[in-house]
Symmetry: C2
Subunit: 367 residues, 2 copies
């Protein structure tokens, strides 16, 4: 039954594409005139251009991107190579990220070509393939590194790209990024205002460009709050929950432990909960924590994790828009944007119940 209605539907809407030849015949013009009219060539009169545009509209003509591509080399597709097993925290965002990209792309009649890679070398090979096979006109690069081989590759081949994140050498780069450094600074200031004096920092992976920046932000926060910097309170390479638990335990083992910790990555921050549970500490009272990402799991933790939330969907959308502009010829220097993460003040950051010394004393009796 469904089958037969389907066929009926097919009869009424034969889904026959109207070609440029048909359109030109209907308008009494030549193919070439129609093509140039639609592509904005200057040697077409304004009146004809209008007539063609209207005709295309009413007949529902849309050029076949891969038919154009054979001459122009452009397929109206954005490329995205996802490195898996790279950074777990990327995963929950992926759907939103794709949604943003897809929305912006389809608004312009573009599509998204996705591939995955399990290593940097693999990612480079994959991008090379996509370029050679003309499966993408440009790339969105998620999670840029301070020294990023992908950037080098694309620069060398002069393929358009836009970074989600920044990089050490901005030459020829377009980007969209969230100012994680500002979030880290604000986190420190927030905790300082609550009365914390020893505020630790647990960074993400050192090779990521954002880690460098977030550390700067943490330091800026300490300076702004008039607090001294203590190297013992700065730790790093924590991306997953286990990492965060390990680093928390190390911090609490100090002679003068922190009463608050700023994490660069939510998933790592969730490890602090585990460590605190093991040590009998109340998160948000005995030990406060503020983190960054805004992962959904954070909201379900007890107490809910105070975190700077990133609008990943909006980021994807803006990145796609920037990349399309870049492919259309805009200079990369004009395509650089940043945005701020939004602080969601939940229950994990409160005034210190104990000072550092008292906390140390309590920890020594417990264990």
């Amino acid at each position: 039954m469904a089958q037969s209605t389907g066929n009926q539907h097919q009869v009424f809407a034969p889904q026959q594409r109207v070609t440029i030849t048909q359109l030109s015949a209907a308008l009494g013009l030549s193919k070439s005139t129609v093509s140039r009219a639609l592509n904005g060539y200057p040697d077409i009169s304004e009146s004809t251009r209008l007539r063609v545009r209207r005709g295309a509209e009413t007949l529902g003509y849309r050029p076949l991107s891969h038919a154009q591509a054979i001459r122009t080399g452009r397929v109206r597709a954005l490329g995205l190579v996802i490195q898996i097993g790279d950074h777990d925290s990327q995963r929950p965002f992926l759907a939103d990220f794709l949604a943003g990209i897809s929305a912006a792309a389809s608004a312009e009649g573009w599509t998204l070509t996705v591939a995955t890679a399990d290593s940097e070398a693999h990612a480079l090979r994959t991008m090379g393939q996509l370029i050679e096979d003309r499966k993408a006109d440009g790339f969105i690069l998620p999670r840029t590194l301070s020294q990023d081989a992908r950037v080098a590759l694309l620069r060398a081949r002069s393929v358009p790209f836009v970074m989600f994140g920044r990089t050490a050498d901005p030459e020829g780069c377009a980007w969209f990024d969230i100012l994680g450094e500002d979030a880290m600074r604000d986190a420190v200031l927030h905790l300082a205002r609550l009365g914390h004096r020893r505020i630790a920092f647990v960074n993400g992976g050192a090779r990521y460009n954002f880690s460098r920046l977030r550390l700067q932000g943490y330091r800026a926060g300490l300076a702004a709050a008039g607090l001294p910097e203590d190297a013992a309170l700065i730790r790093g390479d924590a991306l997953r929950s286990e990492d965060g638990a390990r680093e928390t335990r190390a911090l609490l083992a100090l002679d003068a432990p922190p009463t608050a910790v700023v994490f660069a990555v939510d998933h790592a921050a969730l490890g602090l909960y585990r460590a605190c549970a093991d040590l009998g500490l109340a998160v948000g009272h005995d030990l406060s924590v503020i983190s960054y990402d805004g992962v959904p799991d954070g909201a379900y933790a007890a107490p809910p994790l105070s975190s700077f939330k990133v609008d990943t969907r909006a980021a994807g959308q803006r990145l796609a828009e920037l990349l399309i502009a870049r492919i259309r010829g805009a200079a990369p220097e004009t395509l650089r944007e940043t945005a701020h993460a939004a602080f969601a003040d939940r229950g994990s950051a409160g005034p210190p119940r104990l000072g550092s010394a008292a906390l140390a004393a309590r920890l020594s009796t417990t264990s």
Copy 2:
């Protein structure tokens, strides 16, 4: 500097594609002969065919898919339309799923076109666009519904597709699926062997096809264990953590509460932890739970969630392979496969510390 080395690189590796015309000239054959030789036409002698293949190999000739497409209508691309906000538990799997698809696709020289949609209607429109614009030769349909409009659409337009999941009417459908019903049955049997007599079931969304099947599996488990079925112990529509907590509380409020719960969805099962924490129950002792999906969060829960783990990456890979076969003309009836989820027996399912009556008594004193 990087720029100039880049240009040098470009000079040495001009990344000029070799065209079929160049290849045919090098072989002293005509374009048409080369084309037919590579595409397996019968009117080419075996020796020429071999010579052409070898020549293509050494010169590194690879046909440009969109140049072929203009004549054949096929672009060697798989389509995937992801419905977002649809089912949260889909998200953590997305990266793995894409990795599987991408791996299988690129092994055959195919690519993956991804789009997202925020509703079923939007998904249908998007698929229609991708078909008309020839951006995909076929589709992978994740999360099939019992009555799936996508299936109807693709059937009507006779576009190849493969389902991740099954559907009510299998006519013309190819699929790969995990036998969730077997997992549910085994979960019940496992709990029964541990001594549980009142085992509840919390299903996922009713519209999903898998929910129907998993309920059947639960019932089969009860029957196999010789346990009676109690309608009060069957609940549903729990996909997220909150849902799971709500349903758990409802089950524990019964006069004869269950001592174990089987969940159809991990994320919902994690809600049971919250409910138990609130009520002072120890998961795995006072209340046991077994679930399905194998989400990473489950392993971090305390105690770790016993769950049937789905190999999403393998599923994506197999789906892509099946879809490519389908596009190449294989009959859908020959492209139907299933696999089993792997039980990860962790700490959340143990022998009942209390019977149902004792549990009820304890709960009444607590509240």
